[in-house]
């Protein structure tokens, strides 16, 4: 085993064996799944609360024709308003309809026993309107009226397509793209910051415990630094892979139990036509159907995850190099604050760029920030779900690789001097000078 791989193994093992690693790795995705599950459960719970409305119909034509909606149930009543007022165990409200409702449609009243909402009132009014409209049409004595009505009823659903360079078009879900952009971009920021800081803390710890001198009598400082950086990168990748696996399993379980089977079949077919016809039939939002369909498209999701990993490794190496250099230059974490500024600043800029890219992935700002290495990891993963031309991806990755090689080289130069500097906190000028020292 080469020396660097011995170091990588130690850095990796020491971290993944920690109880805190196990807890955050298992609990974080479960927490996320639980949160989403609770939100869905709350939504279904709310829709289960059906409002029962008793209808006193003086006209005799409306009550039996009123169509129940998901949340409103109309019940024709024989009782008088006073009788219902005095005893109404499951009744939400009373609707009274005047005898002349067809000619005077405003002669309707709604009495409720708890506060009403505009949404409910509107749906009650719509229900009455359609019955009255039908009654009015009947007066014209048109043959085959119900069939004609069915035929003219029209509903338009816009389906969005993303046409890529190869000319093939694919139904795109902006809901899923936005969710992915946000999740991946934010995860990138978190991972680079947290694991980069781990590199710095590891270096400071080695410096404080004076173990460095023993280490560098066996290995080159550069090997030690790279061993630590790579070891921690493997910890991050391991954590990410476990998260994806848990989310995939839990997500599949959730989809199977919560999403109606026919919606699932439609989404699995995945064709725009299938999505559209299903959405039309079921009343589900077509974009949600498309989102589900995209989410079950493994090549799409796989591509997103692959891009994330490539940019994570590149971005992490770039920042970890800087964190290692800072760690080597100081004696304790407090002293590192001042040097962390130039590291966190571009990270925060990347976060802002990511939010901008989510809203407008083709804007000039999103484009440039996704090409410039310091911000590209976060901004590019936020743009990719919307589709990015191949040349932009390649340019961005190439620039990232070049810059992390330069950065790791510079960091190594600072590191090998910094690890033997104790006491006085160096200035930026001194750090720059260390780069020119002979090894």
């Amino acid at each position: 085993m080469s020396k660097i791989s011995i170091i990588v193994a130690r850095e990796f093992n020491e971290r993944v064996r920690k109880r805190s690693f196990l807890i955050t790795t298992i609990l974080t995705p479960l927490l996320m799944v639980g949160l989403v599950g609770a939100m869905i459960a709350m939504m279904t719970l709310r829709s289960g609360d059906i409002k029962r409305i008793e209808v006193i119909d003086a006209s005799g034509v409306v009550a039996q024709e009123l169509e129940n909606s998901g949340v409103i149930e109309f019940v024709p009543s024989e009782r008088s308003l006073e009788e219902i007022n005095s005893y109404h165990p499951d009744t939400w409200g009373v609707l009274t309809i005047g005898a002349d409702v067809v000619d005077n449609p405003s002669n309707v009243q709604l009495y409720t026993y708890s506060s009403s909402t505009l949404e409910t009132e509107t749906s009650v009014a719509r229900a009455i309107e359609s019955v009255v409209e039908a009654e009015k049409l009947k007066r014209y004595d048109i043959e085959n009226l119900p069939r004609i009505l069915d035929e003219v009823r029209t509903r338009v659903q816009l389906t969005a397509f993303k046409v890529d360079d190869s000319g093939s078009k694919k139904e795109s879900s902006s809901v899923l793209a936005m969710g992915l952009a946000y999740a991946l971009g934010f995860l990138m920021y978190m991972f680079v910051l947290l694991y980069g800081a781990q590199v710095m803390n590891g270096v400071i710890e080695e410096k404080n415990s004076k173990v460095l001198e023993v280490m560098v009598s066996s290995v080159r400082p550069f090997q030690l630094m790279m061993g630590k950086i790579v070891g921690i990168a493997l910890v991050a990748v391991t954590q990410f892979v476990i998260w994806v696996a848990i989310l995939a399993i839990a997500g599949a379980a959730m989809v199977n139990t919560l999403v109606p089977a026919d919606l699932l079949t439609a989404a699995q077919a995945g064709t725009p036509a299938a999505n559209f016809s299903y959405a039309e039939l079921s009343g589900f939002d077509p974009d949600m159907v498309a989102a589900l369909s995209n989410a079950m498209d493994f090549s799409y999701i796989g591509k997103m995850l692959a891009v994330f990993l490539v940019f994570f490794v590149g971005g992490y190496l770039l920042y970890a190099g800087m964190f290692a250099a800072v760690g080597s230059a100081v004696d304790n974490v407090q002293d590192s604050q001042q040097f962390q500024m130039p590291i966190t600043l571009p990270l925060v800029l990347g976060l802002i760029g990511m939010i901008n890219a989510m809203q407008d992935p083709t804007s000039g700002m999103a484009f440039w920030l996704s090409i410039i290495p310091f911000t590209s990891p976060m901004v590019m993963v936020a743009r990719v779900p919307y589709g990015v031309p191949a040349w932009e991806l390649i340019l961005s990755v190439a620039l990232l690789i070049v810059s992390f090689i330069v950065m790791v080289w510079l960091a190594g130069k600072i590191y090998r001097v910094g690890i033997f500097m104790y006491g006085k906190k160096p200035t930026f000028r001194e750090l720059a000078k260390w780069i020119t020292y002979k090894s």
Binding site: M1, K3, I6, I7, R10, E14, E205, E206, S209, K210, V211, L212, E213, V214, M215, V216, S217, S218, V219, R220, F420, K433, K438, S439
Partner: protein, 253 residues
Amino acid sequence: MKYIIEAQHVLKQYGAFRALDDVSVAIPRGSVYGLLGPNGAGKTTLIRIMNRITAPDSGRILFDGHDIQPSDVERIGYLPEERGLYKKMRVGEQVLYFAQLKGLSRAEATRRAKEWFVRFRIEEWWGKKVEELSKGMAQKVQFVTTVLHRPELLIFDEPFSGFDPLNAELLKNEMLRLRDEGATIIFSTHNMASVEEVCTHITLINKARNILSGTLDEVRERFGATEVREVVRMSKSMNDIFIEAVGQTNSAL
């Protein structure tokens, strides 16, 4: 090859500070070589250069007759003045880790480490974390990590600091045993009594320069010849030689 390691005209500069100025030292095989000098004289810098921790600005280091190579560090054992172990790591794991970095296989390292733990009667510390150890215990563990790969050259920087007299004696005996087994030992110290007791050669470094080198007898000869004490045929103590030699160069500068 007569010398295991040689420094030839070594010069090292840190910014405006010259840590070593044209220092040449040759360490004969099988010797116990004392590296003496006041604090800040440049001893630790010379030791680091011999360990390939830093490189000289000019001059050469010859190991076993050839320019020192990266792989040569596997034939050197180094106990730095500032002792350090990974605090959160378990003792056994740590010993194996350092040994593997010195080129031993894990199995071989385990076998040898167990022997040393038995010899030092610290077997029960194998699974403990370093932070649970007392300072003296950690020193013993550190000593084991220094010698486990059976280096031909051992470099000890202030090996006795921090040891109680009993453990210092134990350590000294182990050093002598390693010498008897064929190792060459360089050690830097301020403890002149131990120099007289175990060293065969010394080099005295002051203000970045080598001001005095030779076997113990040669050194005594040179300084004793002009001294009144010679009349009573009493060897001058190493302590006196140290003070006198440093005083001479300081006043000459």
